[in-house]
Symmetry: C2
């Protein structure tokens, strides 16, 4: 109860300031939260589950990064629809030891909330409710509500043969960062290990993963991905994008989703892919969690080179679906080859 | 992936039939679901987390009951606001063994979905999305969206001194049922036990809790509580209820929430409480999960004796908050006494 009150205070102090503009009418403290949107708008909803050991590791990820990533996953889905954030709901199953004070400073869960609220604030996303239960396993379910003009939401199903294929930002940085993070964590396990693995007991072990600033900056695409909210909203204006998805599972998998929902095929050109400077082609194709937007536009549309400061790169085109031809073809200097969707399985 | 497809098919077969009337514009299969409500309405949102071992026991609760109760918790919050259901989102962290086939028939998770979709269908609640991840622990987060006329939602904060206090249905039946269920499970442990406790391995143990029909009927208030959706919608009409909450934590705790949000005190009369025929006064006061509605109305309002077939009982009244007087007073034949909120802590 004390924890719920602390979160409530924090929610009203920071993010709820935006409530009038965002459409949140009644936040935490009743049976339901109440949302209002303009009659010209519809509501986009998405939910994402983050589970310890599956979506993050206690002895790899600083708690602030786990909190940031919980919210970023949901916001990225809103971005892919062209929606603006209206409110977030966070349900957490919380092991008791994550609420223990470390010798210096905050508990693991306080640091988790720091990361969560920092991104909530910078994106104008009020926390409007949620649920909290003690649990032997850390699990967080994030629900995001956005508003988008009626009929303007960017769907996966709008791609047509001849449309060109674009991507925002750079690819593979998250997967490359994860590998570097794992290596760093292995080296520093004795210092920062999770209670079970390090044989250290209690809060100190849980709360203590801290990454040097320089390394954290290099790992930003993995630790603190930035959902492309503004880009998505621009793309949803009439006459721009025809379909969109966010790259959460990996380019190959997410492009396959567009192809499936639009009933089309696609080809991408390896030479055109905007690889993150630390990433391999493999990581750009299949590494997930980049949270960039993958979108299509008719060939006569002039797509800007940057939107809201984010570079936009043409990487391929949409083709008709034909029996005997692979759904996705990868063009390389060695010729063309079928590209199997083999998305990010997190730690599986 | 196969499981997600099966759920998607099932969602579109049963509950999504209601989508046009309910306001769900785009369901499972894109980055977000899209909802539309009438411009005269606002949206009520609630989330509830159900965790194995905390909100239910594998060797006590049949999977259908766990599925029913997951959804009932969220629907009951909508009922307490006077909202009609628009869409549900279900996120599940799922241990692999719950997807194993038992010798006869369905997996634990299929039976869970049976219970979930039965209630979804009978209440016209389409499943519009969610998330699914493998997890060592079963955890389900349910998100419910409802629609309610702007400004008409029943809040906890509307009770005023002099208003009368009412409750729907009967109280304590769920707590009494849980005790009987625990006793039955203990007797039948060798037959129905959870894998760990019964030493039986695998799916057979997980999938096999089946309660005799007669007993299941007696335990209905606990196993299959009915959210008071129609009553809530009637109560939200102008000139009826002034405040409402659903009884999830227990009468004493939930009345304390109304008092806190409305800044009032209250007295209830033990002799007036509509005890379930198997329940004690203690269970009616503090046993949770009855999912009845507790509401207030001004004294000049004629509250019907039944609404939608559900009996309505006056149980007390709202008083001004005064220093030195308890927030909640219980009147008994032995005189009056302070009533401490001591709500349901599930299995804690």
């Amino acid at each position: 109860l004390a924890l719920i009150r602390a979160i409530r205070t924090r929610a009203s102090r920071s993010a709820l300031r935006t409530k009038e503009t965002a459409g949140l009418h009644l936040g935490i403290g009743d049976d339901c939260a109440l949302l209002r949107v303009r009659s010209s708008e519809e509501i986009a909803v998405t939910t994402d589950l983050s589970i310890a050991g599956r979506h993050f590791h206690f002895d790899w990820h600083p708690p602030e990064a786990v909190g940031h990533r919980t919210l970023a996953r949901g916001l990225s889905d809103l971005a892919a629809m062209g929606a603006r954030p209206v409110a977030a709901f966070l349900s957490v199953g919380l092991p008791q030891e994550l609420m223990l004070k470390a010798k210096k400073g905050a508990t693991w869960f306080e640091r988790y909330l720091d990361g969560f609220f920092d991104l909530a604030k910078s994106t104008g996303t009020p926390l409007a409710g949620g649920d909290l239960a003690q649990s032997p396993l850390f699990a967080a379910d994030i629900v995001l509500f956005g508003a988008v003009r009626r009929g303007r939401a960017l769907l996966r199903s709008g791609a047509r043969p001849g449309h060109l294929l674009y991507v925002t930002g750079s690819l593979g940085g998250s997967a490359a960062g994860l590998i570097r993070l794992a290596a760093w964590a292995k080296e520093n396990r004795s210092k920062f290990g999770h209670a079970k693995e390090s044989k250290k007991k209690g809060a100190e072990a849980f709360a203590s993963v801290r990454i040097p600033k320089k390394l954290a900056a290099d790992l930003a695409p993995h630790l603190t991905p930035q959902p492309r909210l503004t880009v998505g909203q621009v793309l949803s204006r009439p006459g721009l994008a025809s379909a969109a998805i966010d790259i959460s599972d990996g380019l190959s998998s997410d492009l396959a989703h567009i192809c499936e929902e639009s009933r089309v095929a696609a080809e991408i050109d390896a030479a055109l892919l905007p690889l993150h400077n630390a990433a391999t082609l493999e990581q750009a194709l299949h590494g997930g969690e980049d949270y960039e937007l993958l979108f299509t536009a008719p060939p006569n549309v002039r797509v800007p080179r940057t939107i809201a400061g984010i570079p936009i790169t043409r990487i391929g085109r949409i083709l008709p679906l034909r029996a005997g031809r692979p759904t996705i073809t990868l063009l390389t200097p060695q010729g063309q080859q079928p590209l199997q969707p083999s998305g990010w399985q997190h730690f599986a």
